[in-house]
Symmetry: D2
Subunit: 392 residues, 4 copies
Amino acid sequence: MSEKIGIGVGMVGHAFMGRVHSQAWRSVGAFFDLPLAPRMAVLAGRSRERTSAAAAQLGWADVETDWRKLVERDDVQIVDICTPGDSHAEIAIAALEAGKHVICEKPLANTVAEAEAMVRAAAAAPGRNMVAFNYRRVPAIALARRYVEEGRLGEIRHVRAQYLQDWIVDPGFPLVWRLQKDKAGSGALGDIGAHIIDTAEYVTGQRVVGVSALTETFVKERPLAEDSAGLAATTGGAATGAVTVDDAALFIGRLSGGALASFEATRFATGRKNALRIELNGSLGSLAFDFEAMNELWVSEGDSGFARILVTEPGHPYAGAWWPPGHGLGYEHTFTHEIKDFLEAIAEDRDPAPSFADGLRVQQVLAAVERSAADASRYTVVQDASVVEDAS
Amino acid sequence: MSEKIGIGVGMVGHAFMGRVHSQAWRSVGAFFDLPLAPRMAVLAGRSRERTSAAAAQLGWADVETDWRKLVERDDVQIVDICTPGDSHAEIAIAALEAGKHVICEKPLANTVAEAEAMVRAAAAAPGRNMVAFNYRRVPAIALARRYVEEGRLGEIRHVRAQYLQDWIVDPGFPLVWRLQKDKAGSGALGDIGAHIIDTAEYVTGQRVVGVSALTETFVKERPLAEDSAGLAATTGGAATGAVTVDDAALFIGRLSGGALASFEATRFATGRKNALRIELNGSLGSLAFDFEAMNELWVSEGDSGFARILVTEPGHPYAGAWWPPGHGLGYEHTFTHEIKDFLEAIAEDRDPAPSFADGLRVQQVLAAVERSAADASRYTVVQDASVVEDAS
Amino acid sequence: MSEKIGIGVGMVGHAFMGRVHSQAWRSVGAFFDLPLAPRMAVLAGRSRERTSAAAAQLGWADVETDWRKLVERDDVQIVDICTPGDSHAEIAIAALEAGKHVICEKPLANTVAEAEAMVRAAAAAPGRNMVAFNYRRVPAIALARRYVEEGRLGEIRHVRAQYLQDWIVDPGFPLVWRLQKDKAGSGALGDIGAHIIDTAEYVTGQRVVGVSALTETFVKERPLAEDSAGLAATTGGAATGAVTVDDAALFIGRLSGGALASFEATRFATGRKNALRIELNGSLGSLAFDFEAMNELWVSEGDSGFARILVTEPGHPYAGAWWPPGHGLGYEHTFTHEIKDFLEAIAEDRDPAPSFADGLRVQQVLAAVERSAADASRYTVVQDASVVEDAS
Amino acid sequence: MSEKIGIGVGMVGHAFMGRVHSQAWRSVGAFFDLPLAPRMAVLAGRSRERTSAAAAQLGWADVETDWRKLVERDDVQIVDICTPGDSHAEIAIAALEAGKHVICEKPLANTVAEAEAMVRAAAAAPGRNMVAFNYRRVPAIALARRYVEEGRLGEIRHVRAQYLQDWIVDPGFPLVWRLQKDKAGSGALGDIGAHIIDTAEYVTGQRVVGVSALTETFVKERPLAEDSAGLAATTGGAATGAVTVDDAALFIGRLSGGALASFEATRFATGRKNALRIELNGSLGSLAFDFEAMNELWVSEGDSGFARILVTEPGHPYAGAWWPPGHGLGYEHTFTHEIKDFLEAIAEDRDPAPSFADGLRVQQVLAAVERSAADASRYTVVQDASVVEDAS
């Protein structure tokens, strides 16, 4: 270990994503034989007090209260962006221009234009870039792709992908930043819909080439949250503010290889906590996955019925680095795998997958979904409702 | 039993649907305390030899080789139509005009116009009418509707309904009548898509008011089947013929009560044999069903997780008539329940649900799906594919 | 059909078992190409009124109020015994001596001695005999045996079999005949434990050769039921009576082929309705089954994980006679299959499996379980409880 | 954080258990607000080279090649024993006598006598002691205990506990230390059977008071492994050696509160990778758990069916420290929880549960199982096999 070249990491943001990225940086070296030894150099956040407390708990050596200082520090070679989407482009471009490698949370940006700028900046900079679609690093998802690549499912005909959560079902849930368009870009669509677009494209190796979409905001006003206080003024000081993003997005489409696909992202699926689900049907076989049981991949080949494969065998993606068969992994491991792959790509001087270009690709699909959903002419009315009676 | 009024039944068709309807007519009186005692009077089919053999095996007292004779017999009060969709309208209208009660297999017809004619004929006739959407009579589906009606799920926000089969995945599977537009009207859409439309509307009590759709025929030519021999001429005597219906249909839409819904019907879902699946998410709870495990309903209320309810308790719909808890029912029981409900409706001189009007309602949705799928302008292209690289 | 030789059936008893046997006799000819055409000739019960009503509903042509008359009727060639265990031996022996074929509900008898007498009577008589372990005729169970026979699981090392119900958990549930030793012989042990003994032996092809057992009666007094009124006198006219059978039986043992096995039968497994479960582990593979999902067999071969096989394919046992793949069967079908096999055995002049000899074999295991459970010396006390503290 | 009192940890052994304990020591402070800040001070192993490499990878500051030196270092206040069972007593007693706190892997020892000596040493020493039954710290298992404690299941009647693995099914798998009695004490019994005994007692709050047992060694000779080379001499230098422990252990018993229990531990359950399964039935409800889906607890209360509870809610045991609902944990987290609880107990100057006394308690059950299994008189032969024919 001692002869390994160290590489300094600076992370921006220390909320949910910052906590899980920290665990990944802290653990990755104990399980994978890395080409570079990451050092958790510096953490940036707005409040010195809260950032210092977070750094102490999460294991970062130093803190900054201005991310611009972080991206220019000499002891930082990798910038890890864990902030809301509205700051991704600015931070990433600055970091790239400072010669750093950049890993950025998803969605890559809040608009296609921002994402394009990031891709251009990456192309012009020496650093490597990655967008953190962590679900690609679920061993079961990586194994699913392997099945497709090896042709075991044949020609893929159907993809149905859903990302179902229920954390804002309660109308009393406050107007947090993820429900504000200026910070989050979109709602369920960009937050979790982006994941299933990337997952579907990753697993099938095909691109979404066209869509037809519906979106909806079920709860249109919500109590202000601490971080939405600024919105109070815009609503006349009232106790509630407008939800400016979608609660749910639904779309069907075609993939570049000829498959039909359906997608659904919602935060209103009562009882579903983090159900990123994908099912593929090919001419030779099928597979199904649900992140709520993340160590399982269900595969049907030939006439054998769907088999539950515990993706914990030594030969399964990433799994050999951990525990014996049947000893499952958790959510955070997907980030550990992601960082391991990023470090390897940096050492080999290539961009990892998914890179910013992949992030842009997803952003384009998100934009197409929004265009389709906004255009009422794309929707076919069944019939004047008066002709037949109510469903009975 | 002896004092019950008998009622004569004549059935047209003795293939798959005829066999299962026969089992229902034969069994219903042993389990339900019926107001009318059905007599299996006469079976109609084209070949006297095959029809006679079927009648002997299935328990019908007499046979006819012309359905017109059947609908005019005095010992027939109920006409049960188990033929392909292209003959439904003609037989049903003749039976209604002859004063008979009519139960007709689904889809009600091959076109909206035919279905409308049937509804008009029914309105003008003394007999009662029913369309055989048998899945409404799965105890778990009926229990699902009860949950919605009682408000236990709150306001319904999401419906996702799929009907997945795989019996024509093999390109060598022949061109049977269900793959010919003139006989079947449509493919997966009318055959199994019709079921999930009706099921979604029945369970939610809402109507599909608009859709956006895609359809596809994956295998465009198939070997001729025995009953597709006539097509040989049209293809120059060749050994194959064109598949003239959809292999799969996908659509999203809105329901009259504000829910977002997605539907998918396909015969290319490898490993899925008869997976009529429906999942509902409401503001207070959710439920999920898969016909491949037809005795189970999964329900989540409050924060309790999804519970597997074995729908075999005495208080569950239809279940009390059968066996003790945990002793499940099978596919054919849904037809027995349907016929029990039809006989009760006849005795009470009212139309049962689903009536022909419900069949027409589904037909209108099918037609809207076809219109949408045929109109390329309703589809949003993501972006010129050359801009970004392939998914990696 | 018309040229088939008819065979008259007389059934004794018309409660739960009588109802399901009737459905089997009524349906079997419509689905299987039988060598003999069963006629539902006569039903015997104690009350003329109730028996006549049952016959009318269930489709029996005539009634008797004395089973002795039924077994001597010329129009009866098969006697079907659906009474509690205390009358099995007497009826079966009389029927055999009258030259009839006999199918008898399980357990074969209430004691080994009775069962031995039945086997002797069968050996001396011309008629064929069958004991109604219907779960052998679940397609998934028959398929499980096929897997073992074909060697696909290798050498069987482990069997774990459970039959879990919960219908007497409530202490207010009355003292029905199944809770009275003189009528039922034993409790959960003979009623449902008998089924898992037979199922384990059938699937593995091995015999239980030794056991170590525990039994328990959790609720020792219960309110009198209608049919336990006679017990009131013995308890001084009080409103409750003693439960004289086991509520639960647990045993481990060895099978003749070297497997270790565990068995558990209980009516106190809250939430389990009819969970006849069996799991086998062999040197090459494993399988698992739960009757609550009776159309599914879970199979693991090689390193493939457990696959859910829907046992509804044309090539699966019995399944080809019914519906297309994925259209499941119910509880009653196991009896239809049983009767089909019985009729074939009669036509071929051989005893079917399971015959009375198999019933005796199970009875011997039941007796060994009772002997073991009654012998406290077979039990190893862990240690004086004072030495260590309570589990914490 | 900075004001927290540090506490030095020394760990003995760096194989599987050492790796997972290291990850726990490394991570615990980032997620839990600890009263003491653990320092990973020193790692002991036999080979300096391998121990140094392990220390570098796993994050230990220093190494020793003699555990005796480790237990006497001033910078070590906690000794963490991750060696095979044959050295537990010696190391633990020395550490206790040196005034250290001790956490020891399970089973506590290889014999009851050793375990008793450890309990005596612990009673005489100032340090705190814990035995590492990590499965108590699965959130779902801890939640299960909460259900029982709160009385939601009523009086517990049944426990069925299994620990099923398959890693030695292949007869070519070598004779590793876990298959040698002198090192491991027993086979599946002590290794995984110990876990289900502790889990059953922990969840129910009852003790195993008596048992009846069977054990078996299916594969009696195996190729020598690297660490079994010493055995070669005893078998004359041959390439194989005798397996001296059980491959599987099966027992039934009674718990102190009146429940009936069955236990099974095996390494021959093909297709089961790490299936620690437990099912409880109480008078009011039931629950079921399988470690292969470790984030799920299945609960049935009243007549609601079994509900799958994702044990990832903020109010669930340990879960609030980690990720949002639906973002599951993995195997290693159970150790992190264990160490958090140990540190809290040390800070509060009390022994945690499970302490060495609990380890002794489990050891006594293991010993009773071995006594029972060794005594053929405790086993009831069914009947001379010649009386009836083979199962058919």
